[in-house]
Amino acid sequence: MTITEHVGTTEPVTVAVIGTGAIGQDLVSKVHNSPVLECALVVGRNPDSAGLRHAERLGYPTTAGGIDAILAAPRPFDVVFDATNAMSHAEHWRLLRPLDTLLIDLTPSKLGQMVVPTVTGTQTPTERNVSLISCGGQASIPIAHALASRFTAAYIEVVSTVASTIAGRATRLNLDEYVATTQQAISAFSGVADTKAILNISPAVPPATFRTAVHAVIPGATTEAVRAVVDAAAEQVRAFAPGYRVTACSVTGDRVVVSVEVTATSEVLPHYAGNLDIINSAAILVAEQHAARLGRTTRTGARR
């Protein structure tokens, strides 16, 4: 069955991916597997990049022409994934804003409307720019939101650890944006004003599986009650990111700590790169829901 037969239309929902690092490559692979999205262009800046070779092997058009190549397309793409860096995203948004394109931002620029699928849903905002916050945000906010909904939390702190081998240059240059954006998103979705975000890059060999520890100050919580709340939240996340699991949960006095690990289920990512898998899976979910609303498809995003 071809994509056309699947979606029942001669006009597929076209997608472009800017950025050819690990995030970009995994996005291309996830779009490839999506029954409703068609990868129309993969954009990099270096003609020799491994990411462009990967896209070519899958049979997709590529260019090293940067954002100009997106703007030069005869018809605007329905969806553009931005997997570059926070500084470039501001410029990409300025240029794409006038077009009829949904921009989905994988960088921690904080410019678009923040989406955490199990917390906010995946509706397309009026301003067609969706921010996926950060990998640590995607992993921690479902837990922070669930804790804050059930208990009264005085403080929430989120510490994420990413393996060095998959922290690319953009990630390394955007640590400040990562911290500010993740912190702001945790406050926004938990309603707790006093929050903190920290990112560790682990050099361990073999590489460490992506993990996030959510610390919270909650007077009167019990381990059983916390466990029930976070297990339910994790179950919802697993609907689109199956490698998401709670590995430890402890309550000492008013201190609650919940550890989450995320493994990747992807053709291009190593299993430990759950940080990239969860943010990309969320991005694909947003794109597929958008595709459904464009009315050119008969199926919605049940990829897995």
């Binding site: 390394r172 640590l175 400040d176 682990s202 050099p203 361990a204 460490a208 520890a213 430890a248 402890s250």
Partner: protein
């Protein structure tokens, strides 16, 4: 006689030993004593540096702003230094530190992850600040890797670069080899920061100076996590006898150490059993309090916890692994 610059992080690294609880009076008193002794650089902050007050590592008693303004005011001759770990603090913390009159800003990164410092070193170079970069947990890299990483950070704008023996793992020959490799790769001062887990901190520091390090760290009474850091008031006279000049007044130095023992710490650090284990396991001594608490509650041997953290190659800042390791060891014991 070769001059070396003594860099004193008592009021920053010592914080790990007292869960970041140093108060304003203690900060001011020690800074005044260090200034009077002619200690050229006094570093202040939360144990993990600017912006690092957290449940993960410990919440500080005093805000960064108050720590910096207190120490700045107390230092009339000495330079004030601060420390920042990218991913913990941000450029806005650096801007604040510059506004507070920090003379030297150290960016700390895991020894093989110096590209994490590129943005902040660039920012500091542009701001005209004296930026240094220290490679932490340096026992986890070869001398060649360290030399390569040191050259990279100088390229990013660092005007000083060096290594921290964060786990107190090195023996003097290890230090000699590493400092030589770094000194031949860069044309800026080379830093050595020792920990005393295996009783080698002073010997390692002398080896570093002899191998070409121009900036040596030491803390009053060795104030620092676990077994403590290089003991400053021992280091300085030993360096002088070895043929290095520090410009520090001996009695002033001894007075500052007396003050530190009396006002900063419940007791001076010593090499306890767990500090030996953390040194052997190659794990940052700062994990000690949390390892003891967590393993005590679960009834597992804290030594096993340190060795398991070593196997997982835990780096500074990864305190959240402790809970998981304790839970796993506890489950293993039940199953076994």
């Amino acid at each position: 006689m070769t001059p070396v610059v003594i860099h004193d992080p008592t009021l920053r690294d010592g914080q790990h030993a007292v869960r970041h609880q140093l108060g304003v009076t203690a900060l001011r008193g020690y800074a005044e004593a260090a200034d009077a002794a002619g200690i050229p650089v006094v570093e202040v902050g939360h144990g993990n540096g600017l912006g690092a007050s957290s449940i993960q590592v410990g919440q500080a008693a005093v805000s960064d702003d108050l720590m910096l303004s207190t120490v700045r005011e107390a230092l009339r001759h000495s330079q004030m230094a601060v420390f920042m770990l990218p991913g913990w603090g941000t450029s806005s913390d650096l801007r604040k530190a510059i506004a507070h009159g920090a003379d030297i800003i150290r960016i700390g990164v895991h020894c093989t992850e110096t590209s994490l410092a590129e943005r902040h070193l660039g920012f500091l170079a542009e701001a005209g600040a004296e930026a240094h970069c220290v490679l932490m947990m340096s026992h986890m890299a070869t001398p060649e890797q360290l030399a390569e990483q040191a050259a990279a950070v100088v390229g990013y704008g660092a005007r000083g670069v060096g290594i921290m023996d964060s786990a107190g793992y090195f023996l003097p020959d290890d230090v000699t080899e590493r400092i030589r490799a770094i000194a031949s790769a860069v044309d800026v001062p080379v830093i050595f920061h020792g920990h005393n887990n295996l009783g080698m901190a002073v010997a390692n520091s002398v080896a570093a100076a002899a191998a070409g390090a121009g900036i040596i760290d030491g803390c009053a009474r060795g104030f620092g996590a676990g077994a403590g850091n290089t003991q400053l008031e021992v280091l300085v006279p030993v360096l002088e006898r070895t043929g290095f000049t520090t410009g520090i007044d001996l009695y002033g130095l001894l007075d500052a150490a007396e003050f530190a023992e009396r006002e900063l710490m419940p007791a001076p650090p010593f090499t306890g059993s767990l500090s030996i284990v953390s040194g052997l396991a190659g794990v940052f001594s700062g994990f000690k309090h949390q390892v003891l608490e967590s393993s005590g509650r679960a009834g597992v041997d804290p030594r096993d916890v340190f060795f398991e953290l070593g196997r997982r190659q835990a780096i500074a800042g990864q305190e959240d692994l402790i809970v998981d390791v304790v839970a796993e060891l506890s489950a293993r014991e039940v199953a076994g």
